[in-house]
Each structure stands twice: as structure tokens, then as C-alpha cells.
Symmetry: C2
Subunit: 325 residues, 2 copies
């Protein structure tokens, strides 16, 4: 398995990528990593992987056209070389818009795919159960036909990774009743019913997303992004409030000792960093966007996500799912 890694462009520089690759290689010694970035920064990796010099860094706010023009950027070189040499996956923590556009333009969408979607998995109330949500932000405007394809791709993704026998698919809406929703949701609901989409249960409210009922939740990219970031924001705020409450004084620190285990479980449940990265589905190849502010742990989780998706032949499963549409 060969994975291309863009070492630049993340908020925390190439240092965390270096550590993440070392960590990853310990667990997956057989995977070949080809890393793109400033050669002098990546020196120490040369003993365990191929380092390709690509000194230009795509800025966070770069638009699609700008990125494509930056042929010597670590991001473009990684994607281009992936295409030319037939690598299995590419991982980057750089500009989301830039990375998604460049990957789509260079690797192309799977024939028949109207729009690629960003998929991520979320922890739920049920221990160990994840819910797959898409699109969480590749698009800002979608049609019912695109949402129908998201449902097919989300299901294929879910089955490749989590292997749920009868995954339940829901549409994100402003109420759980069948007639609820934006005009887009209402039309998509009808389409899913018409197609007799297997496992389609109905609408789900944002407050029930994490209750463990749903395996796949389909949303337009704008709403999915609001949902994802809204939930992340609250989780982060809770995390820091809890930390603050325990750190107040010696007495509260003592209190922490009593409940350490329980709180470790909570933080593991809500550990978005362990999810690591979101896959851009609908593209020819495994394309993983790691969090812009990834640390070593989350970037190595993103590499693990890439490994799992390749190992499970996810892209071909998505192709199959769409051909039976």
C-alpha cells in the first residue's frame, strides 16, 4: 500500500507530520509512505520513507484556481504524483477548499458522480458505535439527486469500514416527521422513497444524531458543516470547562483522582481527534483531509483512516454501489 502525504499546510507545521508518520510506521511497517514538503525539514524521515522536495506551501485561504497553479506546492505534487504513480491514498492537513478542488480536478470524480462529498464518522452514545455523516462541507449547495448519491456513497463507506449488516440511513432535517424539512430535504425524501433505498428510515433531528440509532446521516454540505462544527464547538467548550473545574485547586485536583477513569471514558467518547480525517468520497482514490489543526495523534489517526479505507477497497465499493443505483 502506498500513501502520499502532504507534510505542509497544517496549522502546526511539518513537525507533527514527521512524528505522526514515525508513529504510523511502527504499526504499519509494510505501508510505503511518500512524503512531500520542504526537504530540509523532512530530513529525518528519509530513513523510513521517500521524501520528495516540494518547498511551496498552499496558504490556508487559497482558492481552487490558485492551488492548481501552484504546481510545486507539496499539496499539488502529492496529488499529481499519486495519479502518475498510482498511489492508493493521499493525506493533507492543508487548506480544505484547495485540497478538495485540487484532488477533484487532478484525480477526477468516479464516472457518474455528480458531486464529491466529505464524509466523517462521529462517536455516538452507544459505546464503540460510530455514525457516518456526509456531506460535511465539500459543497455549499446541493440538489436532491446529489443527496441521493451521498446516501449510496455513505452506505458503501459505512459497509466498507464498520461492516454493519443492515445500516440505517437518515436524512438530517428540522423534525423527524416525514413531511418536515427544507424544500431540498422534502425532495430528497421523495427520491429516496421512490428508489426504495434499502435501510432508509426517514428524517432525523440534529439533537438525535448522536443517540446511536443512525448509521448514516445524509445532509447537504452547508447543513452538514453547521452540524459538525456546532457539535465540535460545544464539545470543545465542555472539555475546557471540565478541565477548568478540576484544575481549580488542590482540593478539586484530588476530586479528579476519584473520577479519572470515568472522565477518561468521556473524553475518549468525544475524541474527534481519533477520527483523524474526513474522506472525500466520489473521487478516484482515497483522499483524506486531516484537521487543519491536527496534532501528531490526530494526523497519525488520519493515516490510519487512509490505510483502513484502502484495505477495505472502499473506492471500488463506492463505484459498485453507484452502478447499482
Amino acid at each position: 500500500m502506498r500513501i502520499a502525504v502532504d507534510a505542509m499546510g497544517g496549522d502546526n507545521g511539518s513537525k507533527i507530520v514527521i512524528e505522526a508518520i514515525k508513529e504510523f510506521k511502527k504499526n504499519y511497517p509494510d505501508d510505503e509512505i511518500i512524503v512531500f514538503g520542504k526537504k530540509e525539514e523532512l530530513e529525518e524521515l528519509s530513513s523510513i520513507c521517500r521524501v520528495v522536495d516540494a518547498p511551496d506551501v498552499v496558504p490556508m485561504e487559497a482558492g481552487a484556481l490558485e492551488v492548481i497553479r501552484m504546481k510545486n506546492s507539496s499539496m499539488c505534487k502529492a496529488i499529481n504524483t499519486m495519479k502518475e504513480e498510482g498511489f492508493d491514498a493521499v493525506v493533507s492537513a492543508g487548506s480544505t477548499g484547495g485540497f478538495l478542488s485540487a484532488a477533484t480536478l487532478i484525480l477526477k470524480t468516479i464516472p457518474g458522480v455528480k458531486r464529491a462529498a466529505l464524509v466523517t464518522a462521529f462517536p455516538t452514545k452507544i459505546k464503540g458505535k460510530q455514525v457516518v455523516i456526509l456531506d460535511v462541507g465539500a459543497s455549499n449547495d446541493n440538489s436532491p439527486e446529489e443527496l441521493l448519491q451521498f446516501a449510496y456513497m455513505g452506505k458503501a463507506y459505512n459497509q466498507a469500514i464498520y461492516k454493519v449488516a443492515q445500516p440505517k440511513t437518515y436524512l438530517l432535517s428540522n423534525g423527524s416527521e416525514d413531511h418536515k424539512g427544507s424544500p431540498l430535504v422534502k425532495d430528497t425524501f421523495k427520491l429516496l422513497k421512490e428508489k426504495q433505498f434499502e435501510g432508509f428510515v426517514g428524517n432525523i433531528e440534529a439533537r438525535d444524531v448522536l443517540n446511536g440509532d443512525a448509521d448514516i446521516i445524509v445532509a447537504d454540505g452547508f447543513s452538514g458543516n453547521i452540524l459538525l462544527k456546532g457539535m465540535e464547538g460545544v464539545a470543545k467548550m465542555f472539555g475546557s470547562l471540565i478541565k477548568g473545574a478540576f484544575k481549580k485547586n488542590l482540593w478539586t485536583k484530588l476530586g479528579y483522582l476519584h473520577v479519572r477513569k470515568g472522565f477518561k471514558n468521556i473524553s475518549e467518547t468525544f475524541d474527534y481527534k481519533s477520527v483523524g480525517g474526513a474522506m472525500l468520497v466520489g473521487i478516484n482514490g482515497v483522499v483524506i483531509k486531516a484537521h487543519g489543526n491536527s496534532d501528531t495523534y490526530s494526523f497519525s489517526s488520519a493515516l490510519k483512516v487512509a490505510h483502513n479505507l484502502v484495505e477495505n477497497d472502499t473506492v471500488n465499493k463506492i463505484k459498485e454501489a453507484l452502478s447499482n443505483e
Copy 2:
């Protein structure tokens, strides 16, 4: 001040409404409450307020037309009597769709208002600071012109209640950059700039909603609803996980004693029940939707919200804001 209360239709029956009114009357003995519902259930209130028999209960899933036809329902009677006798406010925990439609049809929108919006306040990271969000679910489809009016109404609401001198207004979007957003957000952004809307800062991502920067956040009803419920869902899940971690055994209960105060602060910060109710702005009158699953505390908070909004002459302030649009 005269407030009409629909005692039926909430998930927890009239009992919690009775207790909430008693509680409210202790703090606001001069407010006149007129309560609508099954007379036999409301008997014990007759010493402190007027009880109007209205035995029909609007079911949770009732649509707009269905509600309007239920002339003898506690909900319709409350709104109708409010109009006929010129009460200042109406509060209900019943069917959201039914209540909003009935209130809009009976009380009518303020002249010039294109669409009423549901406004609620959210706690932020900054102690004591609330952020006003609208629309959180009165509509499921909006135009840029409607969102512009939401901005004016949200600002008037904020100034009536929180009296922030220079409130900052943001648009909910999928990125903070000026060019980000759904087509609707992009058009609304342009409109707010054209109108030189005072205090308009720009776009805000869902993850930053609670960081305390924003005083007012404008969203279409569908996205606002996703945001609100997504955040509520995570907060609720965190709450129950924390409770579980402390309740595990004697040792963890002892731990709780050490950090009780800090965690009380956290739960107060995230106490959506203290917000009590959302106001339907853009209507002639103070119309408060209490949570469907309100308990005594949250229903009495909803009554308090109604009191504050009337006391601060909010409806007239909204009228003024729109006339200067």
C-alpha cells in the same frame, strides 16, 4: 401586565404549568395570568388567576389548518382571547408548528414583516453573556430579504433585553471568510453590506457561535434549527455522561464533593432550561414557545422571558427597527 397561558399540549401535562405559574406569581405578584385548559385540572389556580375552560388539546403533530379549526383548544382560545382582550403575551409548550401558525394567523405579522422568526438566546463561554440566534425554526426556507429583516429584528430583541450598546451581528456560514456560504448566505452578506447594517461583522462558523464574540447570529430557519438542536444534543449527552461518571460508586461520589461548585457552574452555563422559551418575533404581540418537554423550572423561565419582553416594550422596538430599515 396580562399574560395568556396555554396549560395543555406540553409533554409533561398541565401539572408543571400549574407549579410554574405559582412559582412565577411569587416573584411577579402584579402580573395577571389567564390560563387556558381543562378546568378540572386547573382548579387550584383559581385563587391566583383567571382560569378559562378549554378542554381540547392540540396534538403535537397537528398542522396549521388543523389547529385553526380547533377553536375550543386551549392553544387557540389563548391566542384568540389575547387578541380580543388585548393581553400582552401568550405562552405555550404545545406543538411548535401549530402554535406558530395559529399565532401568525390570529395576531398577524407586523406590517412590512415578510416572515416571523423564532429567536432564542444561548449561553456563551463568557460568563453572563448570551448570544441571540434567529431564525431557529419558524421557517424551513428563506430569502435574503427575510434574513435581512431577521438581522433587524434580532438586533432590536438584543437591545431590548440585553441592552448591549454596539451589538455585533454575524451570519451563520460554513466558513468565516467573506466569500464563504450557501448561495443564500452569499446574497444576504451582500445585502447587509449594501444596507451598511450597523454592527454587521461578517460570517461566523458554527464552532465559534458560543465563543462570546457574537451578540446576534442570523440564520435561515432550517440551518438555525440544525445548529440549535445539534448543540443541545451534545450538551445533553455530555451532561448525562458526567452524571454517570460521578454516580458510579461511593468513591466517585466522594470525588463529586470536591468539584461540586465547578460543575454547578458548568451546568448553569449550559442550562438551556433557564432560557425557557423562544420568542416568535415579527408578530403583533409577545408570543413565547416554551420547550415541548418543559418542566416547572423551564416553564416558569418562559413566563419570565415573556414578562421581560413585555416590560422592555420589545414588540414596539422591533416595529421601530423595521421602520428604519
